[in-house]
Subunit: 236 residues, 2 copies
Amino acid sequence: MRIAELSRRSGTSIPTIKYYLREGLLPPGTSTGRNQAEYDERHLGRLRLIRALREVGGLSVAATRQVLATLDEPVRSTHELMGHAHQAVIRPLTGSRSSDTDDPAWRSARQEAGRWITSLGWRVHPDNPALDRLADVLLALHRVERTDLIAGLPQYAATALTLAEQEVPTARDAGDPAAVMAAVVTGTVLGEALLTTLRLLAHEHVSATLAGYTPAQGPGCEPPAGDPGEGTPPRR
Amino acid sequence: MRIAELSRRSGTSIPTIKYYLREGLLPPGTSTGRNQAEYDERHLGRLRLIRALREVGGLSVAATRQVLATLDEPVRSTHELMGHAHQAVIRPLTGSRSSDTDDPAWRSARQEAGRWITSLGWRVHPDNPALDRLADVLLALHRVERTDLIAGLPQYAATALTLAEQEVPTARDAGDPAAVMAAVVTGTVLGEALLTTLRLLAHEHVSATLAGYTPAQGPGCEPPAGDPGEGTPPRR
């Protein structure tokens, strides 16, 4: 296909495609004349992956190039491939805060995190940055005396596992390596956004239910009589 | 209690307590002499709430004062009280990105979000900012062609509801209004951090399991034979 069709089908503008070609993020097409080249499905797949990494994962061009380079290395296992894609987006997701690794309280929380994951029987590499993040969270929970949430960790873990058991096979089955990577990136980042947003909405719903509100009329359902918002139509 | 004990029990330094007193975040103690005052359990509860709002919720002093003011208003329902606490932390959580509300594609996604929540029978006020965030996520999923994740929304919603049904009653039962607010703030923010971190760890575990790794030895469990990291001890 020509660059115009590649642009249309990938949802990426022609100047951006040319920029990716110059930067080496996209391999050149097959030359078919002066200033003309043909592109194929692999270019399309690569562009979709770049879009997932850049727009969804928030990766820089340099970081994107680094992730793409792993696709051009000798064939690896799908597990390793997924690990690279996961690694690319896990640091932005777990936040920029640097754990105070010299603080004895943090080191203790880090050991607690390790013990928890061990007790769950999870196969997690000790370099996974989410383990440090888990230590940050445990330390914060101790500091604000929410030990009840720490005690509730097995339930959160069971919930997380149920989600992962659905999400990971979907990504594995996405197709060629570029498609698997794109699925890991979009599924990890957007799946998290979906889950956390729905949790916030569920909080309001459960609180309203416990407060004895009348049956739901959906969003736009107004507070009960006496509340200032009564009777006003949904604001969209 | 004297300010020294208040400092020790609340984990807040004396200069910070004096700053909160000057800024009106904390009501004055009972004067017991020149430059001496007695504080009680309400001061302690208020300080714990301020800490939750400032350190966990990331609120400014001005925003914290605004939230605290709702505690001094005439008695409201627990639902309304929880709504105020939730509102205080929901904007930082749902991100600073402003939705492009003029974009017809966004407006369509916003309607889709409303329809989804209606179809779930959830009682959610149309002003809940998480509805706009849900529209952002749905739009992003459409753009990267992850309609499979949109189809999986009921499962994410069921998961979110199960969590909320555990989390909301815990916050309601926390005690006095200040304690309820503190529980909503810490539970909303830290519960999300706990859930999303465990989900990332579960991803690695499920991927390793599908790749046929040998039974877990916990974090520190090394990749299988042939991988560069083989045999090295866990790095802590």
